[in-house]
Symmetry: C2
Subunit: 327 residues, 2 copies
Amino acid sequence: MESGNSQFFVGIDIGGTKIQVVIADRHGAIHGEARKKHKGAVDFEWVVGRSVAAVDAALDKAKLGRKEISALGIGAPSPILPDGTAVHAPNLGWQNVPLVATFAQELGWPTYAANDCDAGTFGEHRFGAGQAAQTVVGLFMGTGIGGGLVRNGEILAGDNYQGAEFGHTKVQVGGQRCGCGARGCLEAYASKLGIASFVAHQVNCEGRETMLTELCDGDYRSLRSSALAKAYRATDAVAVAAIDQAADYLGIGVANAITLLAPSVIVLGGGVIEALGSLLLNRVVSAAEQASWPPGSFADTSIRLAKLGDHAVALGAAAWAIQRGQF
Amino acid sequence: MESGNSQFFVGIDIGGTKIQVVIADRHGAIHGEARKKHKGAVDFEWVVGRSVAAVDAALDKAKLGRKEISALGIGAPSPILPDGTAVHAPNLGWQNVPLVATFAQELGWPTYAANDCDAGTFGEHRFGAGQAAQTVVGLFMGTGIGGGLVRNGEILAGDNYQGAEFGHTKVQVGGQRCGCGARGCLEAYASKLGIASFVAHQVNCEGRETMLTELCDGDYRSLRSSALAKAYRATDAVAVAAIDQAADYLGIGVANAITLLAPSVIVLGGGVIEALGSLLLNRVVSAAEQASWPPGSFADTSIRLAKLGDHAVALGAAAWAIQRGQF
């Protein structure tokens, strides 16, 4: 049933430090939005309450009432089972919460949910850099490395709905320790945490100096993407080396995705890419080209910067609701 | 249309050194087979002729005539396009040969083709170790490392049909040189070629001795799986170290497959596994468990030895013909 712009959908992005809500139409235009910050490790009921408040604020901005909404989509940092359970969200401290059932009861709309990186990839597929592609891989370079895989309009997260964890594939066996406890994960090199540990090593073990030290008060794990961008643009040698290494490893992640999945489009997003993407894209592409196989296959994949910025998850969640509910 | 055992199908496995034909029914029972050796880098017309001769020999053994065959499936060491073109088969020296069209004209049967590792994975999914699983990954440890991915009864090889190249994903950036020219590929460690280069290094650079030297006349790249098995069972120290390293890396490949694709079943096959699989399985599983993510996800994947042995590709090709032609 095509009904143009007359239907509206709500997308909620439940992140590790914020809740973001958009009111979107089926073309991905945003008619209202709201954002609430939080401090992580917050209990589920509290998040539901804050989310509902944010939804009402976004509806106000869109000059719409709850009755004018056709469906709700939620992106959350957890694997999502088909029954709508969020299995485990380490950043929020959740285990097996009834995500979809609770929101459906609270707001009364048909409700669907997806993992946040899957939703972000789906959003880019539907409204952003991955439109009309059969297979889209999303790689999100932020504090960690998130990934998503969409094929033929379907989110593929494996038979237990816990796959597409690109950040924890091993690219350097026995290498750098990752936050997950293992060694050699892509995330240990290509994320903000990887950049932080490179910088800390340069300063603390090699005695080098960098403007990043002042920009983060010596707490490299708290480095913001904007600080990285500032130091990179200023050609601070340590920052450039750290970020270039991360870009090279992101290229390895891109290459492995091409070698295994041969997607038509790989979308690069996340905070570091939003701050630095246009400066890093050539380097990532070049590393990916060297490392992908078979040689002719590389040219069949377009590697693009994300277009939806930090709306990707909320818009993708709304798009997922439209798709799943056949609105 | 279900017609029990009354229909017969031909599967051809065109390998780098042999052509193998099976006559199978829809349950995967083999009613006749034939095998022809060749020396690699053989031209396409020659392979077609030898294959047709092998088909007739297998039909003779099955006491069947050409008219009693419903369809033909072919597995070949090349990406296969939807129109049946084999894009490039480096082991055979082929570029863009009309594989399906030529065989269809030659034998007159409905004809379908798949990449050999995809066909092998599909065969294990249909008749072997991966039955009834939604997603099956096949990893074949032979001279190189081949891979295949089957989901919902469909072969997934990416948008350009050239993906599922598990052997050339990078697991050790900057590491050992692979036959493909790049460094750090899974294949550079976990294949017979990886074992050969480990052994050569131990002997030539570390001055160690091993019974493998005599078993291959000092040409480690020609080591046969049976020789590896003999030395491993004899607890030859160099052979054990080389093969254990390969098993550990194969476990990394398994872990990355779980982390990305979360399949219900991963089937391990290929010559080295046929010769040594039951001795190596625990080691591969243990390496995979340590390296896969998220932690709970590992238990959802069953890691199994292949069941179809060296019939996997030919049987898988026949099964693919049954599936694609809806017989």
